[in-house]
Point group: none
DNA sequence: GATGAATGAGGGTTCATTCAT
DNA sequence: TATGAATGAACCCTCATTCAT
């Protein structure tokens, strides 16, 4: 239902007997269920009962696999953070802001479309002060600093107007994230599901255009 | 409450205790406490114990005032929605997009700075599907539709580029809201509290500039 | 609503200023309310909140008058026992079983019609082992013994067949009481309120006939 | 309980633990405990704490089995109603009133002797308006109507005097039920437990005689 | 691996009662 | 007298977790 971005590498070779094949499948099902429940009710509000039901197993069985509710939540959070890193990937500065930022916006929008529940979990965790992300925030800051430096380089090169680079990254995040966090409201207001087939490219184009104009990226990119 | 015709004499004197003074103060303290707790833990995750402690009273005393956790939450949600209406106010189309949108962005940013917890409660409620906002979403949609019509008018008048008006409203919301929802992260990344004194105007200016450029509002505004 | 059998003696002389006129009226209203609630929910199940609401006063005011829930219940129980003594009155043995038992049956039936809630409170208290009637049961047993002796006298005189006198008293009680305790069921089954106007005499006649035949009271009475 | 067609092989061996053995024993113990507590304190007055203590388990364990206090009460009520149907069984009209009514009275008296608490729960539920018996009262009325028709047939055949058939059924119920509802009082007054060994037949005989005479059932029956 | 049973802690809420005004 | 406020205990029920089988 809600598969990780990386895809399932271990499942390719059928003759391999990975340790705990059943276990791996159970964990995938549990993760999918937990993501929905955590996204809806938050960490404190989620119950292992609800997760177990969503996964179609008993509470006892769930605990056999997850250890504890907090461990499950931590593992999912870590997954999401890993996803961000893959989405964010931001190294090829020489391609210029139009392409680099455009690609980032596209990947981020696709993630919002395909993993809205994961996106919401991250926002919820951040809203409550991110107590369980603290250990990871150092590297997150470092990565953001690097990206900001790249942007500064573009500004100095006259490829875009002089904006606060970090604020720009926030704004890109805010707008793209919105399509996941406010999915229900957007669907209700627009009268159609967010990012359903034919709509995706239009939304991506509109958002990209909006953000690049806001950033003052010059036409030539 | 039960005043005689013309008003009873005993009620004139200003030293008379106005009915419900204690109650009014308690409710204000409870609301303040509940807003923090709901913003941190969500509706399901919040406990009346935590709210009572934050308000400095006992659980029994809390329930004496609130009726039920759900009623308290509903009341706070309603307050927030009322706040939005005041912030949104969007009627004077003839002043043009630069001023009207600029004022809206400013009010919204100030609200994020001054009431971040309230802002987060709204986002959290929306993220979980807004089960308790459903009855109010009709009028919310109507108001948004009216604002979109105003924007369309500006586009037709050549005052801004042709964007999807509703998406523009989403984007403005997303960016301004971000300063409340991601307050902790932003503070951590920028090394200073969001919107503290001297910073406010800079942030408002940067956000306003970014959003109006994104909307393609022409310079003359 | 549910006035005691004895009527209000103290209200006759209007020039008399009985101590606590207001108090007396409050107590009467409280008693009426409490009787309904205790009859419906039992002693343990009744709440002072429900009684206060039925009496149209606040919980604090209720406690000002009643002292405690248990004291209120005890007082009402005592009232009911006093009512029984008045209804039971059984001294004129020489009038013979037909008249003495017939009059008793009639009074008991009228009490069931007019004070069904009081009747039910007594049955409920008896059903749970009568913990609060214990102190009064000695005199109750004595009175019953006296009545049994009268019946034995009638039997010896050939005025009725040889029944166990105490069982006969139980049976009379059981049948007459049934019209109060099972009021709801009887109304539902018969399609009319128990003992409404025109029906009363028919029910009394049928019950009297049934019980006296069961007792084998000879026709001459 | 859930046997495959023809019986699964694995279920044949007697050493296999039948599913829910523990559960069945717990439920039986809980029912027994709950019947006593509900009979004593009523539905509202009964506490799950008291029931758990009477069953010798913890409150949490109790709720693991019962779902809710109301569900437990409903289940017990349904059991009692099922008992009534078995006791009432009233189909063999041609045996005449003496035998049919006599058998019914005997069964009802035995039920009062052996299940006084169950009997009291029914009376208590009826006294408070039978809110949880409402759905079952239609069929109860139907059954009573059929019994009344049988009695009418006997009257027409001259086998008993012309009584109101429904009232007769009420009176039989009232008297037999009394030995359960007023068990404590009767034991106290008579100085011996109701229906203990040697006494049962005497009480049944006396009650049967009393009721059949009241009904005017002719000697030959 | 899977499941029913068990549990101490805590969930939201109501209780009878008291107190200051 | 009357009322709003307050409270410790108890209410029904669910929680995350463990354990025996």
């Amino acid at each position: 239902m809600d598969q990780g971005v990386g895809g399932a590498v271990a499942d390719v070779a059928p003759h391999v007997r990975p340790p705990g094949r059943i276990r791996a499948r159970m964990l995938a099902a549990i993760d999918a269920a937990a993501i929905e429940v955590f996204a809806r009710d938050g960490f404190q509000g989620a119950t292992t009962q609800a997760i177990a039901e969503a996964a179609g197993i008993s509470k006892a069985q769930l605990h056999y696999y997850i250890g504890s509710k907090e461990a499950l939540y931590q593992r999912i959070l870590q997954d999401i953070v890993d996803d961000w890193i893959a989405v964010f990937g931001f190294a090829d500065a020489h391609h210029g802001p139009r392409q680099v930022l455009g690609d980032y916006i596209r990947r981020k929008m696709l993630y919002s479309f395909e993993h809205p529940a994961r996106s919401r979990i991250f926002t919820a965790e951040t809203m409550r002060g991110a107590p369980m992300l603290r250990p990871l925030m150092g590297q997150s800051l470092r990565r953001t600093g690097q990206a900001a430096a790249v942007i500064t380089g573009w500004i100095d090169a006259g490829l875009m107007r002089p904006v606060d680079p970090m604020l720009l990254l926030f704004h890109i995040w805010a707008v793209t994230q919105h399509y996941a966090d406010y999915e229900h409201q957007i669907s209700f207001f627009r009268g159609r599901d967010v990012g359903d087939g034919s709509d995706r490219e239009r939304l991506i184009a509109e958002v990209t255009d909006f953000l690049l104009r806001g950033a003052g990226v010059v036409q030539a990119g």
